[in-house]
């Protein structure tokens, strides 16, 4: 049975902070297909289009019939744990620091055998298990065998927690607590066991409904934070940056219209200043401390979340400049992900469809409830995924974009 996590003792400030190390980073191109699916929370394997043989490890030709028509197809992961060991020694520093480690070989019902991590609640081999694909601290997919059914405190398992960004007992900064989404995120984090939630607010003279109640919650500390003001960002980072384990950037400036319907660039600049440059200012000020704490004990720094929009994938012309600012933020977040990777910090991008808030008043349903966005963010942290597309509109646009981005562009231009 997994021991529930406890709040650790206060960190001894005299001791050197353990520097982040990474598990092995190298993967071949074909093997990255496993990573691409795991980034969205899916366990996928190549399946031969000609003879239906399921392949593992990833490869370039079917092991059975030599066909090169291999399609990545989602798997349920059921299998039998057939052999196992407890590793007490490793060649790599990252694992030397984390032994003992339970690993084994699972014979998947789908056919192949897989080397896997083993959750502590799985019985000894031979045993039925469910295999899931998760991202390790290097941002690559690894497989982990989970027990047949969920067990109490399952996410607290040491080996599983290394593969997630679970907010339980961690300290989180939510950069904008004045919006309904921000407040819903705060509630969801507290429900998930977060220890402290700092909640940012800008323009203190503008009261926002619900903000005072949020600020009074015992886990919450309100901090004045204006991401358009470099001095403000620097000051807050100086105060709390070294304690933040998860940063959730939900600051957003949202207006409608594209190019022709609003003269001048001031609104577009305001969107860019928060949605794009705000991200950049936060990353420059909070990034270094976050990276240095990637291996800092049980509640190490672990994730950065960006609230983007599915409009980042393909411009929605009636909110054309907003879309462009989100696209800019998306591109920059990929840069951020690459820069955070050496420290093992997960960058999570959330691409909701239109949220049920004032600037989407004229859009037809379904619109996403703020609570649904919050739930998706916390789920992404608990699952350790990188890319989330919450809600039916986001899922629909994603499918069309992947199928043929040009066709989607034409469809959106007609709406």
């Amino acid at each position: 049975m997994t021991e529930p996590l406890r709040r650790p003792k206060r960190k001894n400030p005299v001791l050197r902070t353990r520097m982040p190390t990474l598990p092995p980073v190298a993967r071949g191109r074909v093997a990255l297909g496993l990573t691409a699916a795991a980034a969205e929370g899916r366990f996928a394997l190549q399946v031969c289009r000609d003879c239906a043989t399921v392949q593992y490890p990833p490869r370039e030709a079917c092991v059975s019939c030599l066909s090169d028509l291999l399609d990545w197809t989602e798997q349920d992961g059921w299998g039998t744990l057939s052999a196992e060991t407890v590793l007490r020694h490793s060649l790599e520093t990252h694992f030397r620091e984390r032994v003992p480690l339970r690993t084994g070989i699972v014979k998947l019902d789908a056919g192949p055998t897989a080397v896997v991590h083993i959750h502590g609640d799985c019985p000894p081999a031979p045993a039925r298990v469910r295999v899931a694909a998760k991202l390790d601290r290097s941002g690559n997919a690894v497989l982990i065998a989970l027990p047949e059914e969920d067990t109490p405190n399952m996410s607290d398992d040491r080996q599983l927690r290394e593969l997630t960004a679970d907010p339980k007992l961690r300290k989180v900064l939510v950069t904008d607590g004045k919006t309904r989404v921000g407040q819903a995120v705060v509630h969801a984090l507290i429900d998930a066991g977060a220890d402290i939630v700092w909640v940012g607010y800008a323009e203190p003279w503008k009261k926002a409904p619900g903000f005072e109640e949020i600020a009074e919650l015992p886990q919450v500390t309100a901090v004045e934070l204006d991401v358009t003001n470099p001095q403000s960002v620097k000051s807050v980072a100086g105060q709390i940056g070294a304690k933040v384990d998860i940063l959730i950037n939900n600051c957003e400036f949202h207006r409608t219209f594209g190019i022709a319907d609003r003269y001048g660039t001031e609104t577009a600049r305001a969107e860019m200043d928060i949605n794009y440059f705000g991200l950049m200012r936060l990353a420059q000020e909070f990034g270094p401390a976050l990276r240095s704490r990637g291996a800092d004990g049980q509640n190490n720094a672990v994730a950065w979340v960006n609230l983007l929009s599915v409009y980042a994938l393909s411009n929605f012309p009636s909110q054309g400049t907003f879309s462009a600012s989100k696209a800019a933020a998306y591109s920059l977040s990929q840069c951020l992900r690459a820069e955070m990777q050496p420290a093992g910090i997960r960058v999570i991008n959330v691409f909701p469809g239109p949220i049920d808030e004032e600037w989407n008043q004229l859009l037809n349903p379904p619109l996403l409830a703020p609570e649904a966005v919050a739930g998706a963010i916390v789920k992404a942290l608990r699952d350790g995924v990188e890319d989330v597309y919450p809600g039916p509109v986001a899922q629909d646009w994603l499918a069309r974009w992947r199928d043929n981005p040009k066709v989607l562009e034409k469809e959106l231009a007609r709406e």
Partner: protein, 393 residues
């Protein structure tokens, strides 16, 4: 209609050479290879130019291959082979070289292995061992082969009731055999208690189940019997050989090696039976693989390994002499040279040139190879039955 394989009449192996093993060396692989070739030339009493075939195996030679070595050492062979097959390399080198000499493509083939070992060599070799290892094994704890063989050992113990004491008996016996072997890196006796109480590495594998990676070299010559006699060299004969790669892919966990596919052909070719074998040099990167070799080469049935171990003794004066110079477990694993260690020791025993305790008057020796955990199982297997040809005068 399957054609019958040709025998190896009149093709012989001579000149067993070992370059002393050291744990770490500042010399490169080319140095160890150079020492092997120099010793072969010197011990055989031939000119360097008489070597017209070269078979090379090495894991620390990059960016060179056998090609670079020809210019490095000033050789001009008309037959050249580079074998990247780990622990079966000696068997495969012998098979290739013997056919070359038999066909007249070469007169004297030097089979050479040499590897250096530096502080971080093993980790780097393990991280980049194969595509499947890089993509699907190393990221899970970077335990190297220790984790992979722990899986095999765990499965074997649970399925066939083997105990750690059974493996310990083999390790203790091999250490006894090593105590008189001048090149062994382990020089103190090992007791069963010492084996059982050693540091755990990857359950159920403990410290003395693991070889020590080191630097060193091994080599031998392959030539026609008439050439060996003209040079007055002791030689061993080749009674039969087998080789198989990626056998039994459908087995969930490896519990048998490719030898099980071709074992009957081996004994058939040699005209001998397992009972005729006087000693065995198994590939012993971990003791569980010794047991697979006992079973798959016909000394007992599948799963009867534990009973076989309990009923026999494995020192050079025992009922089933095994790894007569101590094996890799007690001598050390000098990279690819570990794949020739058994062949070189087998030649020594059969030609009366044993450096340690000799097996009493052996007539037939079995040398096995195994290797290349490409993903989750050793893909390569091979074996040679050697005969006592002509000993030292």
């Amino acid at each position: 209609m399957t054609r019958r394989r040709q025998g190896y009449d009149d093709i012989v192996v001579t000149t067993p050479v070992t370059v002393p093993y050291v744990r770490f060396s500042t010399k490169g692989a080319h140095w160890f290879i150079g020492r092997v070739v120099a010793s072969l030339v010197n011990d055989a009493g031939i000119e360097k130019a008489a070597i017209d075939g070269l078979s090379l195996t090495s894991m620390s030679l990059l960016p060179d291959t056998a090609v670079g070595v020809t210019q490095h050492l000033g050789l001009t062979p008309r037959w050249l082979d580079h074998i990247p097959m780990g622990g079966v390399s000696g068997i495969v080198a012998l098979r290739r070289a013997a056919r070359a000499v038999q066909a007249g493509d070469a007169e004297i083939v030097a089979c050479v292995a040499g590897d250096t070992n530096q502080i971080d060599s093993f980790r780097q070799g393990s991280a980049n061992f194969s595509q499947f290892t890089r993509d699907a094994v190393y990221p899970y704890g970077a335990g190297g082969p220790n984790a992979s063989f722990a899986f095999l050992t765990d499965y074997y113990m649970r399925t066939y009731g083997a105990k750690r004491e059974d493996f310990g008996k083999l390790c203790v016996a091999q250490r006894t055999n090593a105590l008189s072997f001048p090149y062994a890196l382990f020089k103190t006796p090992l007791t069963l208690d010492g084996y059982m109480n050693a540091r755990p590495i990857a359950d159920p594998i403990h410290l003395y189940d693991c070889v020590m990676p080191c630097a060193g070299g091994e080599g031998f010559l392959v030539m026609h019997r008439t050439r060996a006699e003209a040079l007055d060299l002791p030689y061993a004969t080749i009674l039969g050989t087998i080789e198989r790669h990626n056998a039994f892919g459908e087995d969930v966990i490896q519990f048998r090696g490719g030898w099980a596919v071709d074992k009957d052909e081996l004994y058939d070719m040699a005209g001998v039976a397992p009972d005729d074998v006087d000693f065995i040099e198994t590939y012993d990167d971990y003791p569980v693989i010794n047991v697979l070799q006992f079973e798959d080469l016909g000394f007992c049935g599948k799963g009867e390994g534990p009973a076989f171990i309990r009923a026999n003794t494995f020192t050079n004066d025992g009922s089933f002499p095994t790894n007569t110079s101590g094996g890799q477990l007690s001598v050390g694993q000098a990279g690819a040279a570990g794949g020739l260690l058994g062949t070189v020791e087998g030649i020594r025993q059969l030609t009366g040139q044993a450096l340690g305790v000799p097996v009493p008057e052996p007539k037939v020796g079995l040398v096995c190879g195994f290797g290349m955990i490409n993903y989750d199982r050793g893909l390569c297997s091979g074996a040679v039955l050697f005969g006592a040809g002509k000993g030292t005068a």
